[in-house]
């Protein structure tokens, strides 16, 4: 058989596998999320319009107050997530590089216990032993959402086909080059999934920051409950839920866009 024939055969085989198997971009959730968020916010707004607002409610159900709490909430969330990205990804790289059983075992044990720790307990404990306020909440958020990113970085690096990294070494890449050009790009999807989880965690934990006087939309929920003004409570709960959904939605888009092609 001639080579030409061989090649023709191979070319004709390939197109069957041509459709790169990536998850579809426009999924039900992708399309529905922003629509649902807008509808829910609209419904909330219209509902509040129909209510008689007394002076207590007026103190919270106004644009200035809501924007202030939302800003606090987002600040907490994004500063914590940025810190987590900066701290947990390098930590994950170092942890996945170590050959020390002791260190790995320690990290895994801490990760397991950390996962079992209730966020509310941790944040209140920190407030009791240290102080109340924004900084404490920030530290609690960072500590709490550190683990998913650390773990995903380790998983992302360890799930890379060893033959790929061996090829890279065999071609003469330095360990730094192997990490930067091969391992990290290939781990990006898993690391991003960790960051997305951590962002959503942060929105949630930032809600309980109100218990230690660190602001955020949790204030509206707690005040609404304390003052028996359910519209305030509901507004806070709906707003914070919409923020969580929106951030998750944006993160999922970022995940799809930043995933390396071909993977």
């Amino acid at each position: 058989m001639t080579f030409e024939a061989v090649i023709e055969r191979d070319v004709s085989v390939a197109p069957a596998e041509l459709g790169v198997r990536r998850a579809r971009f426009w999924t039900l959730r992708r399309i529905a999320t922003p629509i649902v968020i807008v509808l829910v916010l609209l419904a909330l707004f219209l509902w509040i319009q129909t209510l008689e607002i007394d002076s207590i409610m007026a103190r919270t159900l106004n644009a200035d107050y809501i924007l202030l709490r939302t800003r606090e909430h987002l600040e907490l969330t994004f500063i914590a997530s940025a810190l987590v990205a900066v701290l947990a990804i390098p930590a994950g790289i170092v942890a996945s590089r170590t050959t020390s059983r002791l260190l790995r075992g320690t990290i895994l044990t801490i990760a397991n216990i950390g996962q079992a720790t209730p966020a509310i307990g941790f944040i209140i404990l920190l407030a009791i032993i240290w102080q109340i306020g924004f900084q404490t909440a920030l530290i609690a958020l960072v500590a709490y959402s550190f683990l998913p990113v650390l773990r995903n970085t380790m998983v992302g690096l360890s799930q890379i086909d060893p033959s790929v990294t061996e090829s890279a070494r065999g071609m003469g890449m330095t360990p730094g080059q192997v990490l930067r050009r091969i391992e990290l790009p290939l781990a990006v999807p898993v690391i991003l999934a960790g960051l997305r989880t951590s962002l959503v965690f942060c929105v949630g934990v930032a809600t309980v920051a109100t218990f230690i006087d660190a602001g955020g939309l949790g204030d509206m929920i707690v005040n609404g409950l304390k003052l028996q003004r359910f519209p305030v409570l509901i507004t806070g709960a709906v707003l914070v839920s919409c923020i969580a959904l929106l951030i998750d939605w944006l993160a999922s888009i970022a995940e799809d866009l930043l995933r390396p092609k071909g993977v």
């Binding site: 058989m1 080579f3 061989v6 090649i7 191979d10 070319v11 085989v13 390939a14 596998e17 041509l18 790169v20 198997r21 086909d161 033959s163 790929v164 990294t165 061996e166 090829s167 890279a168 070494r169 065999g170 071609m171 003469g172 890449m173 330095t174 080059q177 091969i182 790009p185 290939l186 390396p260 092609k261 071909g262 993977v263």
Partner: protein, 364 residues
């Protein structure tokens, strides 16, 4: 050490200096012109893994001429891979010395060394997040080639491994079939024209038909590029088909026999080698002997219309004799003129020459 000085240093060590080399084949001495290969020497190389007490490779010594295609063949776990990977220091030897063109690889920066040694593994290890072109460009980029030169090289290599650059350069590895990926693996290893190639069961994961195609293509390729190649396989037939010389290895990478395929088939050094060859040694040998190397009959003895070319093997001749049932068949030269004839007796005689020399039991 900066990249540029290291590079020139390393190219001096392993650079493609065309040399002439002699390669022993069955009965002739073939001179390969323009080999770009390097001379490799392993001396008393040992490898003991971690805490293990038994070495994986024990006192391994071997001399490989420039341009030779050496096959390491042996059962799984005998240490083939370990031995091969010590040459580019993916595995560090415990003791012994390894030189490439006279330079001790242990004294070189391993990353610089590896940029001048092509490396192909069974799992291929293409980078899934890079296109085919990007995969092939990795080493040229590491070596600081210009974009232009790299791009031309990619196109050239894709053509060499029989993949159309226009179709394939922009694809990702998972858009290719297994055989195509394997070709890209070979092209990637050839990218910077390294004088040495290390290949660990490169065709092992492909189906038999694809494997045979790849083997034929690979032989052709090697004919034109003349690299020094260490090729690991556990398939003895593959070793016979491809190798200039075969090293039959047993546990701890012990060399049971190191010789040309024909010599090993004719005279296995011991029972171990004989059992590795398995049945049909005579047929395997016949496949290695071209008709022009055999003692043939007169052209006038030829019967029938069927004929063979003098470049066909004795095995082809036997095949045709059995198929047609004729007593003798004509052999043509390049111009198509019948110049000789061949009979079963003459074929037997070619084998018979040495039948007594080896282990008769196997050859019977």
């Amino acid at each position: 050490m900066t990249d540029s000085t290291a590079d020139t240093g390393a190219s001096r060590v392993l650079g493609g200096r065309p040399t002439e080399a002699t390669i022993r084949t069955t009965t002739t001495i073939t001179t390969v012109k323009n080999t770009s290969g390097a001379h490799i020497e392993l001396k008393n190389v040992n490898k003991v893994y971690g805490e293990q007490t038994v070495p994986a490779v024990e006192n391994f010594s071997m001399d490989v001429e420039p341009g030779e295609l050496i096959m390491f063949v042996g059962p799984s776990g005998c240490g083939k891979t370990t031995t091969m990977k010590m040459i580019n220091r993916i595995i560090e030897p415990t003791s012994g010395s390894i030189t490439v063109d006279g330079r001790d690889v242990l004294s070189l920066n391993p990353n610089e060394l590896r940029r001048h040694i092509g490396y192909v593994i069974q799992q291929i290890g293409l980078f899934p997040h890079m296109t085919i072109a990007e995969n092939i460009s990795v080493v040229p980029k590491l070596l600081g080639w210009s974009k232009e030169k790299t791009r031309n090289r990619v196109d050239e290599l894709l053509s060499v491994v029989q993949l159309d650059p226009k179709t394939f350069a922009g694809r990702y590895p998972k858009q290719l079939s297994g055989g195509q990926q394997q070709r890209v693996g070979v092209a990637r290893a050839l990218a910077a024209d390294p004088p040495v190639m290390l290949m660990d069961e490169p065709f092992g994961a492909t189906d038999p038909i694809t494997r045979e195609k790849l083997q034929v293509e690979f032989l052709r390729l090697q004919e034109s590029i003349g690299k020094t190649i260490i090729f690991v396989t556990h398939d003895f037939d593959e070793a016979v088909r491809l190798g200039d010389r075969i090293a039959v290895l047993s546990d701890r990478s012990k060399i049971e026999q190191f010789d040309t395929p024909a010599n090993i088939l004719r005279a296995p050094a011991n029972d171990y080698v004989a059992s590795f060859i398995g049945h049909g040694a005579a047929l395997k040998r016949l496949a290695l002997i071209p008709l022009y190397d055999a003692l043939l009959g007169r052209a006038t003895d030829a019967r029938g219309t069927a004929s063979l070319s003098e470049t066909d093997s004795l095995r082809d001749a036997l095949d045709l004799l059995v198929l047609t049932g004729l007593p003798a068949i004509g052999v043509t030269d390049a111009s198509g003129k019948v110049v000789a004839s061949v009979t079963v007796d003459q074929i037997s005689a070619e084998l018979g020459d040495d039948a007594g020399a080896g282990a008769p039991g196997v050859l019977s």
